[in-house]
């Protein structure tokens, strides 16, 4: 669905369309959830689209990502098919995981998405291993590992980053710092206050960028990916961003103010900012912007429709499915 090596400057069309696809996809989910058509809970990344799209757009074909519990955006940005993800969430047999995984386990290994993960920081050591494969097979590919600010306090973060540094693995550690774990503010949970600054503990580079600025994310990841690809080892890229919705469906937002949410949404929204810049810098016309937004909305509407038509997940071969 998306091309690789999308540049927010020179090829704004896919970049903007993708950001809208991500948002529209999750808005559609909210609606389906309200209508009782989904099971379980879900973690929405509305407000974080620039990070997912900026990072994945800086990758090359064949590059891998690992994702998180908040991973719909990563999947779409890495070229996943919204229809297959939607089918998964709608418990369809043709969904990415045949209805077995759901929102927290979307994966598309064939296309380089090594999977969302319900365990905070659970994908970090996996990303290191995927990086090792690239080194040992000399594929020239790299791995981008998305993780949250909260994940940076798990032991797995430490072990994975240390290993990647001593083995000089081609990994970009992409921290989506959306200011909170579930309810704990990043500055309270994270001694030292910065995930990027922790890079120096491992003798690697850490950069902190505005995660709501798709240009900044793209450029930082492109540089880190280039370094990784050319044998220079891993980088931590910390993207400061924000989620507008609650952590998951049970969140009453008691740990933050409505004012804070409004401020981020009204003044720093990544899509609005990108559109504004596209317009003021003359990179796209207003009518193009409108068109891409509509294209994205149509894409998602169609994906939902198609997904709804898919056959339901089946118990037929369930009992034998734990083993390959």
């Amino acid at each position: 669905m998306s091309d690789f090596q999308r540049d927010p400057r020179s090829t704004p069309e896919p970049v903007l369309t993708n950001m809208w696809r991500i948002r529209k996809f999750e808005e559609a989910l909210e609606e389906l959830f309200a209508r009782g058509m989904l099971h379980g809970t879900m973690h929405l990344s509305i407000g974080q689209e620039a990070t997912a799209e900026g990072a994945c757009g800086a990758l090359q074909p064949g590059d891998y990502i690992t994702s998180t519990h908040r991973g719909h955006g990563h999947t779409i940005a890495h070229g996943g098919q919204p229809m297959l993800m939607m089918a998964e969430l709608l418990m369809k047999d043709t969904g990415y995981c045949r209805g077995r995984g759901g929102s927290m386990h979307i994966a598309d290994v064939a296309s380089g998405n090594l999977g969302a993960n319900g365990i905070v920081a659970g994908s970090m050591t996996i990303a290191a291993g995927a990086g090792l494969t690239q080194v040992m097979k000399q594929t020239g590919r790299i791995v981008t590992c998305f993780f949250g600010d909260g994940a940076a306090n798990e032991g797995s973060f430490h072990e994975a980053v240390n290993l990647s540094a001593i083995w000089q693995l081609p990994v970009v550690w992409l921290c989506e710092n959306n200011q909170y774990g579930m309810s704990m503010a990043q500055e309270l949970s994270t001694a030292g206050g910065s995930v990027a600054a922790r890079a120096s503990a491992y003798g690697i580079e850490g950069v902190a960028v505005d995660g709501n600025d798709v240009f900044a994310v793209h450029d930082a990841v492109a540089a880190a990916a280039h370094q990784a690809r050319s044998g220079g080892g891993p980088t931590i890229v910390e993207c400061s961003t924000y989620r507008y919705r609650g952590h998951s469906k049970s969140d009453r937002n008691l740990y933050r103010t409505q004012h804070e949410i409004d401020e981020w949404r009204d003044e720093r929204d990544p899509i609005a900012r990108y559109e504004h810049r596209l317009e003021t810098e003359g990179l796209l016309t207003v009518s193009d912007i409108d068109r891409y937004r509509r294209v994205a909305a149509d894409d998602i509407r169609q994906a939902v429709q198609e997904a709804l038509q898919q056959p339901d997940a089946t118990t037929t071969d369930l009992a034998e499915s734990a083993y390959a």
């Binding site: 989904l38 099971h39 379980g40 809970t41 998964e88 418990m91 995981c97 209805g99 077995r100 995984g101 759901g102 929102s103 927290m104 386990h105 993960n117 319900g118 365990i119 905070v120 920081a121 659970g122 909260g150 994940a151 306090n153 798990e154 032991g155 797995s156 774990g181 579930m182 309810s183 704990m184 309270l188 949970s189 994270t190 049970s250 969140d251 009453r252 008691l254 740990y255 339901d312 997940a313 089946t314 118990t315 369930l318 009992a319 499915s321 734990a322």
Partner: protein, 331 residues
């Protein structure tokens, strides 16, 4: 005159009682403060007791549990929460290699009075990494005790018993039970609960077969027994309540009367706690009373799937217990 409560509120009431009566007690876990816990269990406790005694932690399960060990051996009484029981995977060293072993390893000269609470089980659509029932692991570890309340009253009482115990105790609550209501009497003080951990309860007497379960399957077993009664099958139901230690005597006594044994749990069948319950019978003279092969009604041998129907077919339901009981009566 007992009032009613939800299971979650009964856990909260026990925590409140403990915090009020013992200033060595403190809570720690992820999002247990202002968020009130992922399932609302600790809601309001931060407001009552302050951030010193209701401690939000970073997402660091290993540190939460290890910290609790260190606090316990120096005189505090930590009650920690794993947000989902699945996340104990990140804290197995402090639980198994430290908490469970220090008393023995250090020659009996130290106690580790900590309680680890965690919600387990499926049925919420949270899939493979948020739905496990891992009690069998801990049931296998000398030095630990493991309790699984199935009723509102036990949600409080077993927690109080755990907190009173000088040993590390794992209390596994069940997510689907949190909102269930039932009769509830709040003890006036933590010391009012004097029954030690490790006693099963016969929740329904019966003469035709013995159904043993715990946690949500103890509740479903009771429902199944009611349905079976309508067919004239009189099932005894035993709520195990604790899987370490296991009250083998109560099970044996029932089996010698009924001659038939059905064991049920949500965890996968292989190497589950059910096998231990069954073995407790057949390595005793109660074996002679068995009229038919034992039955197990357990979780399917797969990770928990997301889709509603798939999830339902992996987790034992009331119908499955009824069907197995019928089979058992025909055998």
């Amino acid at each position: 005159m007992p009032e009613t409560s939800t299971y979650a509120a009964a856990v909260r009431a026990a925590l409140d009682l403990l915090l009020r009566h013992d200033d060595r007690v403190f809570l720690a876990g992820e999002d247990i403060g202002v968020y009130g816990g992922a399932f609302g269990v600790t809601d309001g406790l931060l407001a009552s007791y302050g951030a010193d005694r209701v401690r939000d932690t970073p997402i660091s399960e290993d540190a939460i549990a290890g910290m609790a060990v260190g606090a316990a051996i120096t005189g505090l009484r930590p009650i920690i929460e794993m947000q989902f029981s699945d996340f104990v995977v990140n804290a197995m060293d402090p639980i198994v290699n430290q908490a469970a072993k220090l008393h023995f390893m250090y020659g009996g000269k130290v106690e580790v009075p900590l309680v680890l609470r965690a919600p387990g089980g499926g049925g919420t659509g949270a899939a493979a990494q948020h739905s496990q029932s891992l009690e069998a692991w801990f049931a296998h570890v000398p030095g630990l005790k493991v309790a699984l309340p199935s009723t509102v009253q036990d949600a409080c009482d077993l927690l109080l018993a755990a907190a009173a115990d000088p040993n590390p105790v794992i209390v596994l609550e069940h997510k689907l039970l949190y909102k269930t209501e039932g009769p509830f009497t709040l003890p006036a003080s933590p010391n009012e609960v004097t029954e030690p951990l490790g006693r099963a309860r016969v929740t329904r007497p019966g003469t035709d077969l013995t159904i043993v379960g715990y946690s949500i399957m103890a509740a479903r077993a009771l429902e199944a027994a009611e349905l079976l009664a309508q067919q004239g099958i009189d099932a005894a139901v035993i709520d195990l309540r604790s899987v370490r230690p296991i009250d083998h005597d109560t099970v044996r006594a029932s089996v010698t009367k009924t001659g038939r044994l059905l064991v049920t749990h949500e965890a996968p069948q292989s190497a589950g706690v059910g096998a231990e319950v069954i073995t407790g019978v057949v390595e005793s003279d109660a074996l002679d009373y068995l009229l038919a092969p034992v039955e197990r009604v357990c979780g399917l041998e797969v990770p928990m799937p997301y889709a509603r129907e798939l999830e339902r077919s992996v987790i034992p339901q009331v119908d499955d217990v009824v069907a197995a009981a019928e089979r058992l009566m025909k055998a």
